[in-house]
């Protein structure tokens, strides 16, 4: 029953994705002026060959509806065109860099949740205590701190001064790892490669903290305020009257109720983690999607930019969908 409803909801996201695709398609084609000029930028030194390649790539010589048809045809076949700078399919580039980005986003998410949930919960239970005030002050700093600055500070501290952790790339050069999934943590576990696992985790450490810091600060605050709300509820009093201790009530009766707003925020932040990590990936030389886009923009590699934008949009839609599904498991009142 629930499975069918989830499937229905998933199918319902298809029109949204189509809408996004059309917007992405029209964005470059309906802007006044010559699409080629817009795409390449007037200031660039554009060769005849490049212009021709671009016109071929986007079928610019065809009428608009034919262009749209060809665009969708490619999309359905999983074809986002070819990168102009690298000459390989955009989907291949995305597929190759995606594991690195997901691994980093996962690290950041785990870091944020491990730090933020206990802090938010304890701050709420011990409202107005010194712990609470200190935690909220730190989280305020966390929210306002720019990622590139935090990343550089962490590199100077832990890599340069203390020489404890690596600051660039995903794995040291002398480490050999057989690539199976592209996720280094998983690959090293699958192959039982202990040195590679430790090395990959070390590399993941600083970028995860940098990327997860502001998210941790936001989650801690959201968790705290929703927990404060939950602690006022009558069912908390009932649980106490049944004979549960204060902390058991928090753990058993409150957290599940307080998770709702937190999951909303996490869902939105997952999009940010996957799409907004260009800075962190650049600072830490992390070969992921973020750096791919930065390169694409500098190279005026329009098919690549368009493909990645399309991909980001789908990620956001899926993140939203996942949050909706998780809701129904936490709160029985909510149905899909």
């Amino acid at each position: 029953m629930k499975g069918i409803k989830i499937l229905e909801r998933l199918i319902a996201t298809i029109p949204v994705v189509l809408g996004i695709a059309i917007i992405v398609f029209l964005f470059m084609r309906l802007t006044p002026g010559d699409p080629v000029d817009i795409m390449m930028g007037k200031a660039g030194m554009v060769t005849e060959a490049e212009i021709e390649a671009l016109q071929r790539e986007f079928n610019l010589n065809e009428p608009l509806h034919v262009q749209l048809f060809l665009f969708f045809k490619g999309l359905l076949a999983g074809d986002l065109g070819n990168s102009m700078a690298r000459g390989v399919p955009v989907t291949k580039l995305i597929k190759d860099t995606l594991p690195a980005t997901i691994e980093l986003a996962g690290g950041a998410l785990i870091f944020a949740l491990i730090i933020a949930l206990p802090i938010g919960i304890i701050s709420a239970v011990k409202q107005n205590s010194y712990i609470d005030k200190a935690a909220m002050a730190v989280s305020f700093v966390g929210i306002s701190m720019p990622a590139f600055w935090l990343g550089i500070v962490l590199i100077i501290l832990f890599s340069v001064n203390l020489n404890l952790l690596p600051s660039q790339s995903r794995l040291s050069h002398m480490i050999n790892l057989q690539h199976i999934t592209g996720f280094y943590i998983i690959d090293s576990i699958l192959t039982g490669n202990m040195p590679a696992l430790i090395n990959a985790l070390k590399h993941l450490f600083l970028p995860s903290i940098t990327l997860g810091a502001s998210m941790a600060a936001i989650i801690a605050r959201v968790m705290r305020s929703s927990m404060l709300e939950v602690l006022k509820q009558d069912y908390v009093m009932l649980a106490r009257a049944k004979g549960l201790s204060k902390w058991m009530v928090v753990i058993k009766h409150c957290i599940k109720n307080a998770m709702m707003p937190t999951i909303t925020v996490v869902g939105m932040q997952v999009g940010v983690l996957l799409g907004g990590n260009m800075i962190v990936e650049s600072v830490f030389g992390w070969p992921g999607l973020g750096r791919l886009v930065v390169d694409a923009i500098f190279n005026r590699d329009y098919p690549l930019v368009q493909g990645v934008v399309m991909f980001y949009a789908i990620i956001f839609v899926l993140a939203n969908f996942t949050v909706d599904v998780i809701y129904t498991y936490i709160n029985p009142k909510i149905e899909l």
């Binding site: 009093m237 009932l238 049944k242």
Partner: protein
């Protein structure tokens, strides 16, 4: 079994200290039902929560003794209190809608207190029954039994329902089942029928009466409805602005009320038999407890028997006849009313 002496519960607020419960005395015998009657805001709920030592902060019990089965709950450790709550003293709350946890199944919520208090804990050999299958089965069966007892139809199906799938009356029944789970000796029923419509109200009260008869459970029934208390209780205590103003056996209080406030409450009950008699509401409102740090009777401004001395002296509780107590200037030993 329960003896409350000079109970004071206060809330420090921006506007001064609120004396939510201000020197409350009463006692309760095994198998007895006492009604605690008063308008909303008079401190009834806080009296109940004080007994359980669950007054929400910043509120706290400031003074007084609560002797339950010979034990002063004021001296009990947090751990001892946890053993008493739900097992010895259980509470039924006012608003069933918000008192059940929305994210857990009704049946599981009924089962919980049995699990907390180890009602069916097996003396098991280590690891023999790691998942406590036997214990869980017994708890489940008892939960089903309880749901039947409180009148929830199709308990096997309803066990897996969530609170929002229950009607108000059914939610209140579930709350009663939760309270009864460990067969408590004392039941604190805080306005158990206020949120319900009249026919369901009567059913719930019948149910509580049955529990009292069958299990000899003592009950404190909190209500703002004197008619309900009159029909249901052995003793009645009338509360006003944190103080008990009159207390005694139900027939004495109903037939011969002494405090003007009790008289006012009685006059405001609509009587079906005497159509002609006018229903009189008590004029005015319950005083703001924050500003209430003055001597004298808190009811003076709404009272039609007021005399100047009402505001001048602290009025003690007076035992006018054995078991009958009144707190009124007209009944102090120095000035017992000739007609009283």
């Amino acid at each position: 079994m329960l003896n409350v002496k000079n109970l004071k519960t206060i809330f420090p607020t921006d506007r001064g200290i609120v004396k939510a419960v201000d020197g409350v005395d009463f006692s309760l015998k095994h198998g007895e039902i006492v009604g605690l009657v008063g308008e909303s805001g008079s401190g009834k709920s806080m009296t109940m929560l004080s007994i359980l030592r669950l007054v929400p902060p910043p509120g706290r019990v400031d003074n007084g003794e609560i002797i339950f089965e010979g034990k002063n709950l004021g001296d009990a450790s947090p751990r001892e209190m946890m053993r008493i709550r739900g097992k010895e003293i259980a509470m039924i709350f006012q608003d069933p809608m918000t008192t059940l946890n929305p994210v857990f199944k009704i049946g599981e919520q009924i089962r919980e207190s049995m699990r907390i208090h180890g009602l069916f804990k097996e003396n098991e050999v280590f690891f023999r029954d790691l998942f406590k299958k036997k214990q869980k089965a017994k708890e489940y069966n008892r939960a089903i039994e309880l749901m039947k007892e409180v009148g929830i139809p199709a308990p096997h199906l309803r066990y897996n329902d969530y609170p929002h799938q229950f009607s108000g009356g059914m939610q209140q029944r579930a709350l009663i089942a939760i309270a009864l789970a460990c067969e408590p000796k004392l039941l604190l029923a805080d306005e158990p029928t206020t949120a319900l419509d009249v026919t369901i109200q009567a059913q719930i009260l019948e149910l509580l009466k049955k529990v009292n008869k069958i299990h000899r459970t003592s009950i404190i029934l909190v209500t703002h409805d004197l008619a309900v208390a009159a029909e249901f209780c052995h003793e009645i205590a009338v509360m006003y602005a944190g103080k008990i103003v009159e207390r005694g056996p139900v027939d004495k209080v109903i037939e011969n009320p002494k405090h003007p406030y009790t008289k006012g409450l009685l006059a405001s009950i609509p009587k079906i038999t005497k159509v002609k008699k006018k229903i009189k509401a008590i004029p005015g409102n319950v005083p703001d407890l924050a500003g209430l740090d003055k001597t004298g009777c808190a009811f003076f401004d709404r009272c039609d028997e007021v005399v100047p001395r009402c505001k001048e002296v602290e009025i003690p509780m007076e035992e006018v006849r054995p078991g009958e107590f009144v707190r009124c200037i007209h009944y102090t030993s120095k000035g017992v009313r000739a007609s009283g």
